[in-house]
Amino acid sequence: MAITNDNKSVCIIGGGISGMTTAIEAAEVGYEVYLIEKAPSLGGRVVQMNQYFPKLCPPQCGVEINYKRIRVNPKIRYFTLAEVEKVSGTPGNYDVTIRLNPRYVNDKCTACNKCVEVCPVERPSDYNYDMDKTKAIYLAHEMAFPMKYVIDDKVCLKEQCAKCVSACKYDAIELSMKPKTFNINVGSVVLATGWSPYNATKIDNLKYGIYKNVIRNVEMERLAAPNGPTKGKILRPSDKKEIKSIAFVQCAGSRDENHLAYCSSICCLASMKQATYVRSQYPDADVYIFYIDIRATGRFEDFYVKVQADNKISFIKGKVAKITEDAVTKSLTVVAEDILSGKKIYKTVDMVVLATGMVPNGIKASMPADIVYDEFGFVVPDLQSPGIYAAGCTKKPSDVASCIQDATGTALKAIQIFV
């Protein structure tokens, strides 16, 4: 591919694990990169995880290393609270329009937390999937990068209140900050916009959003995480009590043409991993995993075998299609047909975790070439048109390790048109 100018820089849309990895890999071999993230902090979904499977290590150390590699590398320019509005041009010469939303907090912020102490307004914490609240001025999470507070302008009372402005000793809060739009010129573009958990309220028979103790796997990660709403203690939402039993509902809205027709590939491992969270916190708790098929391929099979060996974890072949709640105790009864015995099985448990799948976030900005999506909204890698590439869960549902591998490969593709 002949390149029309000598602009050897890459714009990466999305600052999750895939976007960060692509940015770091491209920059560390000498190319300029722009990393664009719409949230107040880099990190994406991985910073909301408690542990990675199958090694059960926390994501913090890997994320921290990536943050450091970004911080020390002058070739990486990152923008948070930034959204790509438009990409135009041709391979080797793309013009990217970026809108920078106001943080209302400038670089003087030392993260001293004085502003939060005086702020009178609360908002549901998106980091904790709305299971607790933050103030209107908040830190995205305790490892936020950049380590700067941010104001949610949808709830902040601004000048009417301005208590934080007077509480801040460093003049870090600027309520008058306005959005800015600017353009960058790059040689190639990488889409790493990631995924969102499926809206489980659509699965009407599983009662998510109606019964308090029915949660999704993503919420379970937060409940088990030391920096989560319960400080890492798995307590059921209705009464904050310890649990004695729990059921995992696999394929909740997945492999289902009424919801997500595809398999998200990670939910089986995620539930098994979460079963180990429960077992390590509650040695007497019973865990039931209801499945259609357990998909633990390759090296993950060892983990499956290990979890299977735990006699307090039962695997039941049969999909849960009905859940009821005891009006008084708020305990839940899940119903499935145990296919191996051919009889219905009723299990009354304290809590139910729906193993929901991944929905691709897609691209909202207008793009020059028609990006090819598959029927589910994942980007189909188009080898015929170099210049715009996709990484990680933008292409298909993947676990973190696969995303990192894929992002490294994507970095190679994105710089290849320059050589």
Partner: protein
């Protein structure tokens, strides 16, 4: 065990596909269907097991399974099926397959399974009735005097009595075979036989008359209303026919009856219920496909014949009352053709579901099979969780 060899029938899938179960291969055995079904019992849930039996070609299992007949095809399972495997339609196709399989003589089963034999099936009563008219000399001139269908009684009664006897024998053969299959291929539990056969029949009659299980369908409950109309309309007309036959033959009652005669009132009400019920069923099958699912030849044929019996019957009565002799007699001719079709092909058409379902219900009571609960599913779950 050496005698535990599973017999499979590779043609089964093709047959069931042809009879309306084309989606059966999509099933991946998640058992959502068995759980969302309000009629499925805890010990023998369906239709998940029937789906895999069909996929595997386990013909004997399907033909001896009472649960196939405990399904009223309300479509709850199809609505929640993640694969579009439409278990409700597959269950319907398995029932169609049973009509064909238990048919005696076998060619009759085949004749009712495809529209290409339809002209032939109608030709039988039409030719027969023409021959009667020819013999009576009524073909060349319309009988004079007041319009009275009783003038054909000697012939009509002979034809229909003979036909009924043949049909009953054929049906009995199918039913006995069905019962034997059910009894041989289902494991006998401790409750087997404890209800006693008469009590089982009584319980089955009760269940059928009240439609109490049909009522539990969620996705397609309009079907219940339609079926109730057809069912009671048909029963009313059956009773009327019996009364008129006996009254005419034994007591020489004067026919036609006046419009205020209670029997006549019952007849008119029955015809009305039948027509309304059929109309609801047509509306449901044509206009609510998303809920009702696809309909197939067996469904359309049976429904159309029932509707046309009701419609032509009522029409004949109206024409008779308005005094157009020729039109009335021809209308009666057409009406009888449909009646012949319904009765004569009873054991091989969807009409036979009345008997097979009834027998399957009796068997399930007799064999002590577990019942779907009286109350709603959520109440049942609460009960279970307490226990």
């Amino acid at each position: 065990m050496a005698n535990n060899i599973i017999e499979t029938d590779s043609d089964l899938i093709k047959d069931i596909t042809k009879l309306g179960g084309g989606s059966l291969k999509k099933c991946f055995q998640c058992a959502t269907c068995s759980v969302v079904c309000n009629l499925s019992s805890d010990d023998r849930p369906f239709p998940r097991k029937e789906m895999i039996w069909a996929q595997w070609g386990l013909k004997d299992k399907l033909l001896s399974d009472p649960d196939v007949w405990r399904c009223y095809q309300c479509g709850d399972c199809s609505v929640y099926c993640p694969r579009g495997a439409k278990p409700a339609e597959v269950m319907g196709a398995i029932r169609n397959y049973s009509f064909k399989n238990y048919a005696f003589p076998k060619f009759m089963g085949k004749a009712l399974s495809s529209p290409k034999y339809l002209p032939l099936l109608f030709a039988v009563p039409v030719i027969l009735f023409f021959l009667v008219l020819q013999y009576m000399g009524a073909l060349s001139s319309v009988p004079t005097g007041s319009i009275a269908f009783t003038r054909f009684d000697n012939y009509v009664d002979v034809i229909f009595v003979l036909l009924s006897v043949l049909v009953l024998l054929a049906m009995a053969k199918g039913v006995l075979e069905f019962w034997k299959n059910m009894d041989q291929n289902n494991t006998h539990g401790t409750a087997y036989g404890s209800a006693g056969i008469y009590n089982s029949i009584l319980l089955a009659v009760q269940e059928v008359l009240t439609h109490k299980n049909f009522k539990k369908c969620d996705a397609n409950n309009i079907r219940y209303t339609g079926h109730l109309g057809i069912f009671y309309g048909f029963i009313a007309l059956f009773i009327v026919t019996a009364i008129v036959f006996i009254g005419d033959r034994v007591f020489h009652m004067s026919l036609p009856m006046g419009q205020v005669n209670p029997v006549k009132i019952l007849a008119n009400l029955g015809a009305f219920a039948l027509i309304v019920g059929c109309s609801i069923a047509f509306y449901n099958r044509l206009g609510r496909k998303d809920k009702a699912g696809e309909s197939y030849y067996y469904d359309w044929l049976f429904l159309s014949v029932l509707f046309l019996i009701g419609a032509t019957g009522l029409l004949t009565e109206i024409i008779r009352l308005s005094g157009y002799a020729a039109a009335a007699y021809w209308s009666y001719f057409i009406h009888l053709t449909f009646v012949f079709f319904l009765i004569g092909y009873f054991p091989y058409s969807k009409f036979a579901h009345l008997i097979y379902r009834f027998v399957a219900i009796i068997y399930s009571k007799y064999a002590g099979m577990s019942e779907p609960a009286e109350d709603s599913v959520s109440e049942r779950i609460e009960e279970k969780s307490v226990a």
